[in-house]
Structures are given as structure tokens and as C-alpha cells.
Symmetry: C2
Subunit: 415 residues, 2 copies
Amino acid sequence: MTKQPHKSLAVFPNGVSWTPVDEALEHLRLSLKPILDFEFINVSDSLDYILYEDILANRSNPPVGNTAVDGFGFAHQSIKNKNKKLNLCVDRIAAGDSYQGIVPQGSAIKILTGAELPRGVDTVVLQEEVTIENDNIILNTDLKRGENTRKVGEDIEKGKCVLTKGSRIRAQDIALLIATGINQIKVYLLLKIGILSTGNELIHKVSNKDSNKTLDANRPMLMNIVKKWGYQSIDLGNVNDNKTEIKTKLNIASEICDIIFTSGGASTGDEDYVGRLLKSDGNLYNWRIAMKPGRPLALAKWNETPVIGLPGNPVAAFVCTIVFGRPICGLLSGEGWLKPNSFQVPAAFSKNKKIGRREYLRARVKNGKVEIFHSEGSGRISSLSWADGLVELREETSKVNLGDLVKYIPFNGVF
Amino acid sequence: MTKQPHKSLAVFPNGVSWTPVDEALEHLRLSLKPILDFEFINVSDSLDYILYEDILANRSNPPVGNTAVDGFGFAHQSIKNKNKKLNLCVDRIAAGDSYQGIVPQGSAIKILTGAELPRGVDTVVLQEEVTIENDNIILNTDLKRGENTRKVGEDIEKGKCVLTKGSRIRAQDIALLIATGINQIKVYLLLKIGILSTGNELIHKVSNKDSNKTLDANRPMLMNIVKKWGYQSIDLGNVNDNKTEIKTKLNIASEICDIIFTSGGASTGDEDYVGRLLKSDGNLYNWRIAMKPGRPLALAKWNETPVIGLPGNPVAAFVCTIVFGRPICGLLSGEGWLKPNSFQVPAAFSKNKKIGRREYLRARVKNGKVEIFHSEGSGRISSLSWADGLVELREETSKVNLGDLVKYIPFNGVF
């Protein structure tokens, strides 16, 4: 255990005001609005789309009373007074059959799982719980009225709300929509997220002459995060550190995208063209968030289109995308402001921490405990591959002891 | 709290041997083998593909030593003997620059985040931590050698293993592959999963004449589960409860699919054509697993192609797909045998349970506690929409008390 935080963490200059993560998030939550365009889409193709309105059942599920098991159906009235013997009808009803007959009181009929209960039947006995004797069955068990049956609409009644506006459609929701007779749904248009990399140092293929240059890992990473989120990514390519080039690109992007993610140059230093441009022309809200990693993160608007100016460092870009990008996109896309799933997990590590800032540690769970990557260096892209989630340590936390419960955010919960 | 399990749960006939979930899983794990075909794919397009071989770095990350901050670079030797004053060079090095000069001992040079350290520089001081006086900078802090710099290969050294065979590619893995100079990777062909629904009772659109029939919710649900898993789904449509039709379909499917998921008719009753066919011609391994929901589940092979015969009930089909389908597909696809992520979460419910069988309860976490759906009825498709995960109760569990830690499997961890 290190007694002191690593020296290089002590990077927040004094005399500058740093905005807490929650304050920045709350500002964004209140200042952004969902896009308003919608389309109609087939339910089967609606995975990861977001509902534009509440959906009401077109029919009940189940549509008719049916049997939950293979067995024999009869009227419960028939076994009053402890009668256990029922006359067996010759017919048999399977799922999908439209049986027109009536089962007389005192009689039972063979009925198979999923089949509609015929008139005269309200209760079913499992076939394993009867003895067959000539033309009769003898019940070897007691039954309540309605046992082993499913009542019409017991899952959902026709006209009732099936799924609410803002729901993101999952595979099981598709099952529910189909079962309740819904073929098409009104959904928000997929959020269009523009991805732009900036920096003279970036190259896209290794070559000998550029051996000191940086391969642009952010753009493909962000494109694929967006894909995983189920939104539409727009590849805005790469621009050099040149004010005019960046400005032109942002002008075009703000026309075709609902939100723009840039990476690189997000601070306001000499070469931080994105940050400086957002400050002068981009209605910059903030670029000093008290979090680690994640400095600098620029939050702005370009021609009313939100811009998230991510740090060039892939680790910081990744963490900011989870912490800020995900809820912002949720809100814009109609899904609402989402907090990532998290779990309280015992720490397999101990750590001293500077108070006053939020820290996100690359982490994973092993044997029920959460461990963190051996280095906090934000240049360690390998740590993102190593990790399955993040540990979030709040501003007021100064120390984590082995075994303390800490907040663990699995990546699976945000992608 | 119900004192007794619901009567309708007591459905496991006596005198029949039921296979524990773990025993069935272990049998499958040992008897199945991954498909062996591969392809080459661009890293940027490789999301959710599975690596066919270990990947070694084509170059180091970072490729050269660089600065982690905006600041002034110098040789640490220059500040030995408590010297705090350094002569400031006129040049400035930004990321992407190829600076050819040498910084003399006793001097410092302005250097911006990500820029390569020039010869003569091994340490960087943050610009906020110096005072500039004429042509000199005065350091207001102590620094260790190498501080605020990133060493060549400190993340990954050229030739070292970046990702291992069997890894499923995530967005952050794409960043790592690109940063280490990888353009193409060898991956397993996407697993091809055939989805077949069976049952005379199934319809695909609501109509008045079929008001008692069941809308086929399973096939679109399963197609979308497969999509979410990142595999390739093959829609095998729907067949009636007819031995010849099912046989023909399985023959074709086993030629074009790596694995087949059927739903409906998986038991061995009168109308359970799938189960009976798998028993007579399909090398049926098992169809009596001691789990709830999930009865009956048929595990078989048709012409050497694994077949998972799911129950017709969407709730049971969904649970079996998570519990059996996911690890089986993981193994076949080259990803290996995966256990779903799970967390120990305090129960917001209490419940008595029959020992001897595994139960999966539809669940979700609220305020740090896991709650379960109000009904255990397996006809309740709405419970799947309500839920965000499953609580797994083991065979030996007979009771859950309020506040007990239970195993919670979030759906996000399996999709």
C-alpha cells in the first residue's frame, strides 16, 4: 500500500475552481433536451430502439384461458364432496386446437400444455397425478379451482400499458410486444453521434517515418462504443490542430449530428485548439471537472449541438465517455438520464486518495472481490482491456481499506 | 411471505431421475468443441468477434518516451544539488513534432502533452508549478527523475502479448490493438445459430379467426438475443407439430448452422414432436433438468449439430437460453465456457423453496437490494420486461430471508 497518493496525481493547480462531477452532470441533465424525431419500426427489428410513447396491449396475454401442463381438464365443481373419480372424454385437446365441445360436469378431458380450456373446464390435473381406470381417471391429489391453468389476460390485459415511453427495447421486450399483438412501434430516431479526432500527432497506419507518432485509437474505440450503445455513429475523421479546419468540421458536424464527441486538444493550452475554439465560439460550459482520469474534458455546444471534448488520452477519453457521454446520450436519445448499474463489492486493494475529486479506477471482480489495475497511469490502454469495470471513489473518500465495500460499475452495465 | 411454495411448483414427478443443472452443464462443457473456421478482419470492424490466436504488439505503446502533461522538460541531473533555476530554450515541442535538437544540461524546454521527449530531457515539470523569470524558469516543486513522463513501451512493449486467444473484442480492446500497431486480426467465424419455432398453435399476426392462438414470441426474442450476443442468427421459421416437417427442417438446419435452438414441444408427451424426435433420432442427452423455470429442456445433437430444445413458454425459453444457451454458444464460438457475471446482493424478499432443484427468479436491483417479480408464473412474459436479471437459488437452498445475500445475475452480464 502506498501511504501517499502518487506524486503525479497532485496535478490540480491551486487557485482554480474545479467543478464536482455531480454538479456538472446535474447541469447537463437540466440543460439538455431529447431529440424529437420519431419513426415507426417493426417490433422484430426494434432491438435497442427507444420507445417514443407508451405502448398498450392490442390483445390480452394469454389471449384465452389455457392449461399450463399436460393433464386432464374438468370443472372444479365436479370434485366437490371429495369425489376423485371422473369420466374420461374420448377427445383430446392440443395447443392450437379449436375445440367446440362442452365437457360435462363429472367428466374430464385430456388436454396438452398451451391448449385453450374448453367450455366446462376450469381446472387441470397433471397427468402424472391420476390413475386411469377403464373410462375413468382417479385423482391422486387435491386441487384448487383454477389449478394448473392460466387465466385470460393474467399476464397482460388488452388495453393495459405494456412498455412505457423511453424504454430501450430488449430481446425480452420484443417477446412481450409480440405476445400482446403489437407489430409496429413508434420509436425515437437513432441518436446520431459524430466522432472526431484531432491532433497533428495522429496517424492511422504504422510507418517507419512516423515511428514517434500516435496511432489514433480513440476514433475506432468511440465508434464501437456507440455501436455497442445501439446508436448511430458518424465518422468525422481526423483534423489537424488547426483552428480553421476544426471550425469547418464542427460546422458541418453540427448540421448532421445530434451530438459530437471530439478527442484531443480539449484543454485551453497553446495547442489545445478544440478547447480554445469551444471557449471562444462554442458556448463552453466547463472544462475543469474534478475527476481523475478525465482532465481536461470540455462540455460545450456548437450551433446548439452538444459537444463533448474528450481528452486525447484513450484511458481518460474512455472514462469520460462512460461517466458523461452515456447519460448525456441517454437523455438526448429519449431514454432518459441513466445512472450506470453499480454494485457494492469488497475491495481486494487498499489505497489512499486525495479528497476533493472523484476517482475512477480500472477494476475487475475476481472471487467476489474487486481488484484494481497495478498502475493508475492514464497512458495504460492495456488497463482498459484488463478491466471489466470501474471503481468509483467519491470526492470525500480519503482511504480505502482492504475489504471495504466500494462502488463497482461493470462495463456490461453501461454498454 | 408464503409459508409454502406455490402448489403448482410441485410438478416434478416422483420416480424420475432429474439431472442437476451443474451436472448437465459439465457434461456439455466436456462434450462440445469450438468450431474451427477463422477469417481475417479489420480491427476497427472486429467488435464482438473472438480472437483465434494470441495477438502480439507490432509496436510499443507509447512508441516513444513522451510527456504526460503540458510543462517544461529537462534532465533531472540539472536539478541535483537543489538547483531550482533552469535556462529556458526558445523552442517549444508539441505532440507530433519531430524535434531534432538536444536540450543542454541546465536548460529546460517547453513541451506539450503527448510530445516526444527530446534528447537531453528525462523529466517534466507542470507549467503551473514554475515561475517564469526572464529567460529562466524557477521550479516551485520537487521532482523525481522521470516525473510526468511516459516511458517508451511502459504500457505494452513491442512483441508482447496484447490480447489472448478466445478474447471477445470490446471497444477498448480495439483501442489497444490499434495503439500497438495491429490492423488485421485472425478471428473465429461468427457462430451461426439457427432459430426454429414449433407448434400448431403459433401464429405471426393477430386475426379474429385465430383469437385463441399464440403469437410466436420466442423466435423474434431468440433472434434478438443472438444479435445482442454478437453471433449470427439464422431464421429457420416455424414448423407445425409434424414429425416429417420437423425432421426435414432439422436436416437442412444441421447443414447450415453451428447450433440449433428450437422452441416448443421439447418434452416427450403426445404432441412433443421435437422432444420425441430428438429422443429417437437426435442422440438426446437429457431433457429432465432439475430447474425452474426450464422444464422441459432437451439437449441433443442432430447429425452432430448441437440442438437446444427450449420449452415453448417464453419465460422458460429465456431462462434456459441464459443458463444453457450462453455458455454452450461461448464454447462453440471459441470464447470458452463462460459463467455469467454475478453479484451477491441482499434480498428484498423472503421465500421458501423446495430443495433439490435450481430456481431462477426474475429479479431487479433497487436501492442496493434485489427484489423479485410478484408472480412466479412462467406465463408471465411481462416479468421478463420488468426484470433486469435473475436470482439463482441453488438446489440445497430451502429458504431465503429478507436481507440474505443472494446470487444476482444481471442480464447486462449475459448479453
